[in-house]
């Protein structure tokens, strides 16, 4: 659990400026001066999860986006630890797509540097509004501007005013399904691990087992991070899970 304690507080501050998950992921990769590929993504998975875990409260509307990407990272990391782990075509696709999205995001970040240096530097100005005296203004009402039409119009405006709460609700539902995914992943890895134990118990592979056990512990951590953001119901799952993680009988 020490890993949680060492997370930076900076992240929370930056999030308030709505820094997105791709931004976070890219900064983690760039900090290590790595190219964008599945190897580098696997290597920053722990950092990424730690960050989410540490930032207990960021805008609810953004939460699911962070966690969706966390789930893909977990897949990548699982595969890198256990190459024999079978991924569904959908999972393979989400991994490939994340890589591409990250590259696209990086490209846009480069482009935004152009935009940022150009903004306000050599501005083109529009002409001021022509000054009119009251005498010059000819009252020209519009046929369509009846009192009823104006009432309908303002009611339409009221209806279209954005409602912040609706966005948040849609998000919570997504989060729950990702939790299922993590649970499922944990199960698959545990199974795979026991099946291919002979492979890992070979000389020199003992370290790898430790890594995988550590990874399972991290999945747990990730779950707790998510649970902080959702409901009580899921707390129950955690207790159950932590029992099974405490099965490092391969040591």
């Amino acid at each position: 659990m020490e890993v949680v304690a060492e997370t930076t507080k900076d992240f929370r501050v930056k999030l308030e400026g709505f820094e997105g998950p791709l931004e976070l992921l890219l900064s983690l990769i760039e900090k290590r001066k790595l190219p964008i590929n599945d190897v580098s993504l696997a290597s920053v998975t722990d950092d990424y999860i730690k960050h989410i875990e540490a930032s207990g409260h960021f805008p609810l509307s953004q939460t699911s986006h962070f966690i969706l990407i966390a789930s893909t990272l977990l897949l990548i990391k699982s595969k890198s630890l256990l190459p024999t782990l079978d991924l569904t075509p959908e999972e393979e696709e989400s991994i490939e797509s994340l890589e591409k999205r990250l590259k696209l995001y990086k490209r846009n970040k480069e482009l935004s540097l152009h935009v940022s240096t150009m903004l306000g530097k050599r501005m083109l100005f529009e002409a001021h509004e022509a000054k009119r005296t009251k005498a010059e203004v000819v009252f020209s009402p519009s046929e369509d501007a009846s009192i009823d039409a104006l009432k309908e119009s303002i009611l339409g405006v009221l209806k279209r005013l954005p409602k912040a709460k609706l966005v948040a609700e849609a998000v919570v539902r997504k989060v729950v399904s990702i939790e299922d995914m993590i649970e499922n992943l944990t199960k698959r890895i545990t199974q795979k691990l026991s099946m291919s134990f002979s492979e890992f118990s070979n000389m020199g592979k003992a370290e790898k087992v430790e890594v995988i056990v550590g990874f399972l512990a991290m999945l747990e951590l990730a779950k707790q991070g998510i649970i902080n953001l959702t409901q009580e119901k899921t707390f129950a799952d955690i207790t159950m899970e932590s029992d099974s993680v405490g099965v490092p009988k391969y040591e």
């Binding site: 152009h114 240096t117 150009m118 530097k121 100005f125 529009e126 002409a127 001021h128 509004e129 022509a130 000054k131 009119r132 009251k134 203004v137 000819v138 009252f139 020209s140 009402p141 519009s142 046929e143 369509d144 501007a145 009846s146 009192i147 009823d148 039409a149 104006l150 009432k151 119009s153 303002i154 009611l155 339409g156 405006v157 009221l158 279209r160 005013l161 954005p162 912040a164």
Partner: protein, 195 residues
Amino acid sequence: MVEFQSNNTEQGVPAPSLSGEIEAILFFKNEPVKKSWLEGVVKRTPEDVRDALGELKMSLLGRGIVLLELGDAVALRTAPEYSETLATLQKDELSKDIGKAGLETLSIILYQSPITRAEVDFIRGVNSTFIIRNLMVRGLIEKQANPKDARSFLYQPTFALLSFLGITGIEDLPEYGSVREEIQQFKEEQREHDE
């Protein structure tokens, strides 16, 4: 930025000139300005400015705008050749319906008056600069100084509009109270969200 500038040079953009600078200033101001004021802005002698104005006048020959000199003042105006087109244009514009966006903006100004442009934009979720300008040209709304902020204006319906609608004050608008309340609530919610 460096790359961008070199791009421009490749396209053969000429160097800045005093007459070009004066043309830009006159276009921007869109009203007669004193030559002495111009001299101060461009930081040049009266002779330089006079020569540049002569140059500008020549360069505008055959174009759609002309340089107008009125005693000590100068301004850009549309060329007289096109005054007929523009008169027709203006007449057509004034008799045209204000359309959906116009109605929306007008209804917000009616129900929320007096209101700043920034608030209209905020409620509509889009920028309303041109529409507000159009509503003013048609005499449907007018602006007045904002006592709370010297840089902005407050917009309100004109008396002519109220009598056209057959009401004596904005309180007579249908559902006036509830509409104002709902918008007030939205503004407060947004404020919380921003924090």
